[in-house]
Structures are given as C-alpha cells and as structure tokens.
C-alpha cells in the first residue's frame, strides 16, 4: 500500500463531497418546485394545465433520456456561461444538476401523488387557500416520500460525480479511473471504491433515519 498517495485521496474525497453537496442543494432547489408544478398542473389537480404540464414533462424527459456523459459534453458552452469554466468541481456542478434535478422532480411528483386526496379536500373544506394547501398539507404529508426521493437522488449523484472526471472535475471516481484503471494501481482503485461505498451507505442510512423520523403513518 506504499504507492498510495493519501494526500491525493484526501483531496479527491473532498472534491467528491463538494460536488455532491453543491449539486444536491441546487438539485433540490430546482427539482422540488419543478416536481410540485408537474404535480399541480397534472390531470385533475388544482392547477390543471395540459400545455404547461406537457412542456415541462417533455423537458424533464429530454434531460432524463440523455446519457450523463453526453450531457457533460454538450453542456460545456452553457456551463462556461454559467460558472465561467467547464473544468474542475465548479464546472461539474451545472451538468450534475441538469442531470439530477429532472430525476428528482419526477420522484417528487410521484410522492405527491401518493398523498391522500381526502386530506387535500378536507383542507379546502376548512377554508384553506391553494398555497396553504400546498405548503401546509400537501408537502408535509408527502415529506417521507420526498426525503426518500432525495436519498435516491443523492446516491445517483455519487455515481454521476465519478463520470464527471471526464471534464477533469477530480474526485474519487476520477482517481479510480486514472490510477486504478489507466495505471494498473489496483490498490488505489480498491481504496476509492471502498470510500465511495462508505459514502453511499452513509447517505442511505441517514436518509432512512430521517424518513423514519418524519413518517407518522
């Protein structure tokens, strides 16, 4: 194990966590409202709008059908325009968000569909405004599902960050490819894979715990 550069592994771990944290915050910030709008404009819902729903749905499907590696490359001009560079951790975040936010939005939409319609109706019967129904009843009732969705999304982002090495983003996945695969340093590859596994396990455990805490069914 003497050919393992622990400082480099430390840096790579930090890069992965930075990419994950940054893209996760933005994914939730964009994906949650998108999911709510997808749900509310859907058939039979309170803001039913076929055109808006159809367009948003198409956008989401396009982003979700493009393989992430392709997304990384075709987004380069947009990424430069947004964050000034297409390289490094910074350059990885826009494509990560573009890949994960639509995925998260769909999961949020599904979680909202699970909410008992009777509860929504009861809220209206109590004199709630639409906004109050969404913020005071719909989202709290869907919270366990939304947190489970965030967990799945965060774990998907971990594997996306590994691919982001293609644009020189750094991180553990990048390390595994450069040392482990290209230079046949199997031990480096094993260490990075173990670290990624620990990260995924930790995310799943935290997610499951929070779901259990907010679920009172």
């Amino acid at each position: 194990m003497n050919n393992i550069d622990w400082a480099e592994i430390g840096q790579a771990t930090l890069d992965t966590l930075t990419m994950l944290g940054g893209s996760m915050v933005l994914t939730v910030a964009l994906g949650l409202p998108l999911g709510v709008i997808l749900f509310l404009t859907g058939k039979g819902q309170m803001l039913e709008n076929r055109v808006a729903n159809g367009l948003l749905s198409l956008l989401v499907n396009i982003l979700r059908s493009v393989p992430f590696v392709i997304l990384l490359i075709v987004m380069i001009p947009l990424t430069v325009a947004l964050v000034g560079t297409s390289l490094g951790v910074q350059g990885a975040i826009p494509p990560l968000v573009a890949g994960a936010a639509p995925f998260f939005a769909r999961l949020v939409e599904t979680a909202l569909r699970e909410v008992d319609k009777g509860v929504i109706e009861a809220s209206f019967a109590m004199g709630a405004r639409r906004r109050q129904v969404v913020l005071g009843a719909l989202l709290p009732e869907a919270m366990p599902g939304i947190i489970a969705a965030a967990t799945v999304t965060a774990i998907a982002l971990v594997s996306y960050t590994a691919m982001a090495g293609v644009v020189g983003a750094g991180g553990l996945g990048d390390l595994a490819i450069r040392f482990g695969y290209q230079r046949f340093q199997t031990d480096v590859m094993v260490v990075t894979v173990v670290l990624l596994l620990i990260l995924v396990q930790a995310l799943q455990m935290v997610g499951d715990t929070v779901v259990r805490r907010v679920s009172h069914r």
């Binding site: 008992d116 009861a122 019967a125 405004r129 709290p140 009732e141």
Partner: protein
Amino acid sequence: MPDAVIAFEAASKTYAPKANAKGGGHAALSEVSLSVQAGEVFGVIGASGAGKSTLIRLINGLEKPTGGRVVVDGDDVAALGVEGLRALRRRVGMIFQHFNLLSSKTVADNVAFPLKLAGRPAVEVKARTAELLARVGLSDQATKYPAQLSGGQKQRVGIARALATGPKILLCDEATSALDPETTEQILDLVSNLNRELGLTIVLITHEMDVVRRVCDRVAVLEAGRVVETGPVEDVFLHPASATTRRFVREADGEPAAEAVLAGRVVRLTFRGEATYKPVLGQVARATGVDYSILGGRIHRLRETPYGQLTLALTGGDVDAAIARFQAEGVRVDPVLAGEGA
C-alpha cells in the same frame, strides 16, 4: 320558510364526462330541491352512487351545481368569490368517512390547522385547541399522531377540527360508516349533543336507516340523483311511501317480509307515543270478536318517541269495526298487500 339555513333550489350536478368513458355526462343530481332549517339534524339517505356526497359537497362549494342554486346561510354558493367561499367554509364544518386527518401533524396540530389557516393569533389557537380537545374528550391525546388513535378517536379529532372556527353548520359525510356499532353510537351521541348544546345545524349523510332513526329530525331519501321522499323521520320511517325507503326501513329492522297468509285481512298497526303502551289489541279483539295472529312486529324508539308496529292477520268477527276501533284509539291502520311484507 324563513329559517332555512340551507336551500337547494332545483340544484343539478352533471360531472364532465371522462375522456375515456363512453356515454358519460349523466346527472349525479337532478333538480334537487330541499331546505334545511336552523338547528335541525337533517339526514340524507341513499344507496351507493345515489349522489349523497355530491349533494353535501355542493353545500360548502367543493362542487359547483351545473343547474339551479344552492343557498347557504344567505349566500348563493356558486356566486361566491375565493374569499367569500373561504369565509363560508369557516361557517360550515365538515367531517368525513375516512376522517381525512393530516398524518404528519399531531392531534393538537390537526385541530389547530383551520385556525392557523384563518390567521388567528398563536395564543388564541392554543387556548381554542385545548378547549376543543376537552369537548371531544381527547385532552390526553393531544401530542399523539392520528396513526396512534382508534377509529372513534380519529373521528373525534375530525369533529374537534370541524368545530374549530365556530361553524353554525356541520356536514357529516358517512361519518360513522367506517366505525363499529358501539363507536358509531358514541359518535352519534356526540353529534346529537353538539346539535342541542351549540344549536348546530347538521346535515348527515348515510346509507343506514338506523343512523337516521337515532339522530335525525327530518330526512330526504335520495335515489339516482333525485329526492324520492322527504319529511319528518317519524313519518318517513313508519309510513315509507317509496320502494327505496321501504327497503332501507326493512334493512334497519332486519325483519323478514310476512309470509303468505291463508285467511283473513292483513293489516299493519302503527302505535306512536302513548298508544304504544296501551293494551289496545286485547280490548279490540274482545269487543269485536275478531281473532288475530301476529305476523311480525317491532317496538323501538325514534330518538325520544317510542313506537310500535305490528303486522296482523285479522279473522272472524267484524273486521271493519275492529279497524275503526283501532283508529279511534289513535292507532294507524294500513292494509298490507300480499307479498309486500311488514
């Protein structure tokens, strides 16, 4: 009728036909006219799909009529704007078959929810919530979540929540249909008490005649979107005019139809109030020489009023004189056609 707090004026409701359903667009309610008086418990009974939920949802504007009007507490519901409708809904509480509590909120927060929606100050919300929980006997459950409660307790939370904004009307959509008989009785008692103590006007929807018999003053019978019979519960229950009503009454009594009778005239006697306990039957038989065999009977209470109904086959003696004497004693006599039953 000056005291009507709810008036249906030829109200109809046709749901927009579903895109994939053929035919479609049949009326869930057809020209329903009825009025509910302030302070009464008004029952609506009907089979599944008769339009009961549609009817009650027109009252608080969860559905809009496609014809006619529904006037509630002086407002034409369909004409109200967003804020007007919200104000009306604070004056009309509603409880549901499946309770529809927020599973993510505690009992206390569920009860506080309508108050927060109305923007009441926190101090008032807290005091009022405590008062409401005490009223429904759940003060010690305040910090629990709905999933930790029994069905009866959940419906009590539903009732406390419905009362939060101090409504004058309470709508109950099959509020006891998911409960066992004992719990049903407790919830019905609670509803009756609210009617008496708070002067609440109550519209109660059910498919069980027994519920109507226990708590309602008047009842409307709904069949395929139309009101087929309406009136005081005593009248509708004891002398049902429509086949639908007779079926509900028989279900409530669990009484088989009278079997074929070989001889004599079959009549149904209805005793109400005082007459129920008088020894009329023997007196009349002795005086007129008529023999009777009892084919079916029941003695019950309609809320506070005792009543009895007997189906008899009268033979020998002067049957007409016997009937006249029964009537003179305040007993109603109806002929029973063969096969119609008791």
